[in-house]
């Protein structure tokens, strides 16, 4: 089972991953966006980490709703409300259970992803974070590692797509041939689950 500690670790490792990859995310956001995705998420997850350190919520749901609200209050841009909603709705779906199973998380995350789809209006194939999140949620029933692999695959698969949502859509045909920054950061977030479970290679065994 996954306790609040696991979820705090998830946020912490995601924050570290975002710090590590910020330049890359911003570079991806340059040819088809406005060159801020890395710094946006750094600001947001930095604030999340600081707040969780200072006053650690005691349930999985509280960790995520708190984190989501913080992202909304600190990130701005498209990714702030979208990631904020993702975590907040996932957290809400987890309720106030002190521990949850990986299956429960998968189900809650699906609720969160649906909320993102509703909020942003993006469907799979529109070249957005959705393209990493949807396959990740589908694979999460199997294992963290499977989810991570699915998210990474989904992110890479955005490259040949024509963007229909977000800034990249302004470029029309010229958006083709570039990997979507939001799908890329979504893969980092999902990879954080495996990492937080302590066994990034053999995530299947742990976390339940």
């Amino acid at each position: 089972m996954l306790d609040a500690d696991f979820f705090r670790r998830w946020m912490a490792v995601t924050s570290a991953a975002v710090d590590r990859e910020a330049e890359w995310l911003t570079a991806l956001d340059s040819p088809i966006g406005d060159a801020d995705h890395g710094s946006n998420l750094q600001r947001g997850f930095g604030a999340v980490r600081a707040a969780l350190d200072e006053e650690p919520p005691v349930t999985p749901g509280a960790v995520l709703t708190r984190s989501g609200r913080l992202l909304i209050s600190t990130v701005g841009g498209a990714s702030g409300p979208l990631y904020g909603t993702l975590l907040r709705r996932t957290g809400k779906a987890l309720g106030d259970a002190p521990e949850v199973s990986r299956e429960q998380l998968a189900e809650a995350l699906r609720t969160g992803v649906d909320a993102v789809r509703q909020l942003g209006g993006a469907a799979p194939g529109d070249k957005t974070m959705i393209d990493a999140l949807v396959p990740a949620v589908d694979a999460l029933g199997d294992s963290f590692a499977a989810a991570r692999a699915a998210a990474e695959e989904g992110a890479v698969a955005t490259t040949p797509l024509l963007a229909r949502k977000g800034r990249a859509s302004y470029l029309g045909e010229r958006s083709i041939g570039h990997q979507d920054p939001g799908a890329t950061s979504a893969a980092l977030l999902i990879a954080g689950l495996a990492e937080a479970s302590g066994t990034s290679e053999a995530g299947e065994a742990s976390g339940e």
Partner: protein, 328 residues
């Protein structure tokens, strides 16, 4: 770049605005710029905001006759709902607040959240989306057109109506009308360098230009070998006229993206006026300058806004802001 560190660029700018404009209440920590005399009894509050890097938009348009408050986000990043809620609360006199929102996913989502939160606090909120850029294909399946130069016309004309004490529905309707009657098209001669990235966001060789760019340093729809000012004016005006056929006179904004010298901008205006003349478009007013910018990008945009007697009167009404001022 003339900065301290990328992380403090917006806060530093707000400190600098605060000292240069004592007539504005600049809350550096919470990132809202508010008219000192707000709320004014019975007056609709006009609130806008967006990513920084487009100055004087929006903070430079706060003042009598225009915005009641502005919320600057990080560079090219829409502000967060907290800012907008705070701004709405600061300017609402009970007559309601109009959010002027440029149509970008980030801006729309954050302002939507803010509207919900503000309504929870008992503030009546209306929203108007600005989406004037004809370079972007408009469709139900995309993010739609982005908002650029027309924002200035919407904020000025709606601001004048609010200043006269017109009610929220009327101010909102006017803002919507101005947006519907406005179209823009922009070109870039250089890419932009954001403080966070520190190098140009894309590679644009000296002998080429990007047609159909926005105001966030994104590439345009098409790259072309360098064109003359006259050819660019034709491309911009014709792209607009392919989408709208003004029957009434238009306001013309010949807007610099930031690094194009005013000398060139005036020369470009001469060509824009020539083309408008050749196409038979009657011109009511012309504004030339750097108003809706994209940091250090070289280039320009053209915005046409068809006006009637009432909107022209409101355009001419006195305004007193750091970025636009006349009649007082």
């Amino acid at each position: 770049m003339l900065i301290n560190v990328p992380e403090t660029v917006v806060a530093d700018a707000l400190r600098g605005m605060a000292s240069a404009h004592p007539e504005l209440a600049v809350d550096v920590e919470n990132r809202v710029i508010v008219r000192r005399d707000a709320p004014l009894a019975g007056k609709v509050g006009l609130v806008s905001g967006g990513g920084s890097g487009h100055e004087p938009l929006h903070g430079g348009f706060v003042g009598p006759g225009m915005l009641s408050a502005a919320c600057p986000g990080e560079v090219f990043t829409s502000p967060v709902p907290d800012q907008m809620v705070r701004a709405a609360a600061a300017v609402d006199s009970g007559a309601g607040v109009l959010f002027v929102v440029k149509n970008y996913t980030g801006d729309v989502l954050n302002f939507d959240m803010a509207a919900e939160l503000a309504e929870d606090e008992g503030i009546q909120v209306a929203k108007v989306l600005v989406d004037d850029d004809v370079a972007v294909t408009d469709s139900l399946y995309t993010a739609g057109r982005r908002g650029t130069g027309a924002t200035l016309f919407v904020e000025k004309i709606a601001g004048a109506a609010a200043e006269e004490g017109q009610p929220l529905e009327r101010v909102e309707a006017l803002a919507r009308q101005v947006n519907e009657n406005s179209r823009s098209f922009g070109v870039a001669l250089t890419a932009v360098t954001t403080p966070a990235k520190g190098s140009p966001t894309f590679d644009l060789p000296a002998g080429e230009l990007e047609l159909g760019i926005g105001i966030h340093g994104e590439p345009g729809r098409e790259r072309r070998p360098m064109m003359t000012s006259g050819e660019i004016a034709e491309a911009a005006v014709d792209a607009i006229l392919a989408d709208i056929t003004p029957r009434n006179p238009v306001l013309v904004l010949v807007n610099g993206m930031g690094a194009t010298p005013l000398l060139e901008l005036y020369g470009f205006n001469a060509e824009v006026q020539r083309v408008l003349g050749e196409r038979g478009v009657p011109v009511a007013r012309i504004l030339v300058g750097n108003y809706v910018t994209s940091l250090d990008m070289a280039g320009a945009s053209v915005t046409l806004c068809q006006v009637d007697e009432e909107t022209l009167r409101l355009w001419d009404a006195p305004v007193r802001t750091p970025g636009l001022r006349w009649g007082m």
